[in-house]
């Protein structure tokens, strides 16, 4: 099932991994001067891990990273990622012109391909990767507990059957290692935004320690402005703050690691379920969710562009 173009693609429906990968190829083919597709690694089950690069030229320019779908069952995030990809193309000479004139944007729509495929074929509630290790009764690692930031501390489980199992060692999951290697080789990423669902939160580091980040004031202010922009569209109420003070202690998390790599503007979203659907958010809410989230992303991207470091 391949749509004719990204203009006829159905953004108001959920899609399979194959359909999303086909969408990516279409977007690249339609916009060869702006969009390219990078393969940054392969998963446990040997699926390619793709990142879309949006660039108007230059080499190794300051960049913004956005990822969705690291927890595979959070379908509204991958669906929003598709919508963001099209929006970046549509806005390249308008709302994003100022940013794309100086920065690149990297968008990883399916950050956990094995888990996502598994939610379509076998278990709609699957959250983790699909790594299997001898001697372990259960499958998978929580890819948001597998990073080398407070790894193995409180706020993650050492039980392989737990949904928050941190894995045998930091970066044990190829899906995590691929991003780690990419960030380390790129060296010029200035903002890192990892998108989850659900519960309407905009979070910044840390999750593994109560120690406040040195840039707390600035990150709190940016989060406040971003949430105000988000809520202005449909009135969706968000809370914001550091991970550990806003929700709970979580160790080995993505943005704690990215912040410790020097990426100051590190944020995590927990997208809406304002109703009572949880991970089974109706497809009719995909576009409004993506639209309101985009308003917040614009604030973070504009602030990053205006405060390069």
């Amino acid at each position: 099932f391949v749509p004719l173009s990204t203009s006829t693609f159905d953004y108001t429906s959920y899609h399979t991994l194959e359909e999303i990968y086909a969408f990516m190829d279409l977007l690249v083919a339609e916009n060869p001067n702006l969009v390219s597709k990078l393969e940054i690694g392969r998963t446990t089950e040997n699926r390619p891990i793709y990142v879309l690069k949006f660039s108007k030229g230059g080499t190794n320019r300051p960049a913004i990273w956005i990822d969705t779908g690291i927890h595979s069952r959070e379908w509204v995030t991958q669906a929003s990622g598709i919508w963001f990809a099209k929006k970046i193309v549509q806005e390249q000479d308008e709302g994003l012109a100022n940013i794309l004139d100086q920065m690149d944007i990297f968008l990883e729509i399916v950050t956990n391909p094995d888990g996502f495929a598994f939610t379509h074929t076998s278990n709609r509630m699957w959250r983790k990767t699909r790594s299997k290790r001898s001697g372990s009764l259960c499958v998978g690692v929580d890819p948001n507990r597998n990073w080398d930031a407070g790894f193995g501390g409180s706020g993650a489980s050492s039980n392989p059957c737990s949904e928050t199992y941190h894995g045998p060692y930091a970066n044990s999951e190829p899906e995590v290692k691929a991003i780690v290697d990419f960030v380390k080789s790129h060296k010029n990423i200035k903002a890192f935004i990892s998108i989850h669902s659900y519960s309407q939160l905009l979070l910044y580091p840390y999750g593994y320690t109560t120690t406040a980040v040195p840039d707390k004031e600035e990150l709190h202010q940016v989060a406040k402005e971003a949430v105000a922009a988000l809520s202005s569209l449909y009135g969706t109420n968000y809370k914001y703050g550091s991970i550990i003070t806003t929700i709970y202690q979580a160790s080995g998390g993505t943005i704690d690691w990215t912040y410790n790599q020097g990426i100051k503007y590190s944020f995590t979203f927990e997208l809406r379920d304002t109703g009572r659907y949880g991970f089974l958010l109706p497809a009719s809410q995909i576009v409004p969710t993506a639209q309101e989230t985009w308003k917040a992303l614009e604030v973070i991207m504009a602030h990053t562009r205006g405060h390069l470091y």
Binding site: F1, S13, C161, I247
Partner: protein, 93 residues
């Protein structure tokens, strides 16, 4: 394919430390196979738990016996999963 027939998602909004503690006790009971969609994070914040059908009765008994109010956020998870699949197929067609 895993099916979720009869699974319910219960929503609990702990309003006291005692209630929060009773909810956290559930996290330790691995045999109930509970799936915490939203984990306990403090008073006033919702805790959403997907409860497999065989565990529904003991979980509700535990909450009711300890006076912890809860609501049923999703009556039948499988019904929503089926609806989602149907919508995808229909849109694809």
């Amino acid at each position: 394919t895993e099916n979720f027939v009869g699974h319910q998602v219960l929503r609990i909004v702990p309003s006291s430390d005692a209630e929060l503690q009773k909810v956290q006790e559930l996290q330790e009971l691995e045999h109930l196979q509970l799936d915490f969609w939203l984990s306990p994070r403090g008073l006033g914040n919702p805790v959403d738990i997907r409860v497999p059908f065989p565990s529904l009765q003991p979980v509700k008994a535990h909450l009711e016996a300890n006076g912890v109010p809860y609501s049923i956020m999703i009556e039948d998870v499988q019904a929503l999963v089926d609806l989602e699949q149907m919508q995808m197929l229909r849109r694809r067609r």
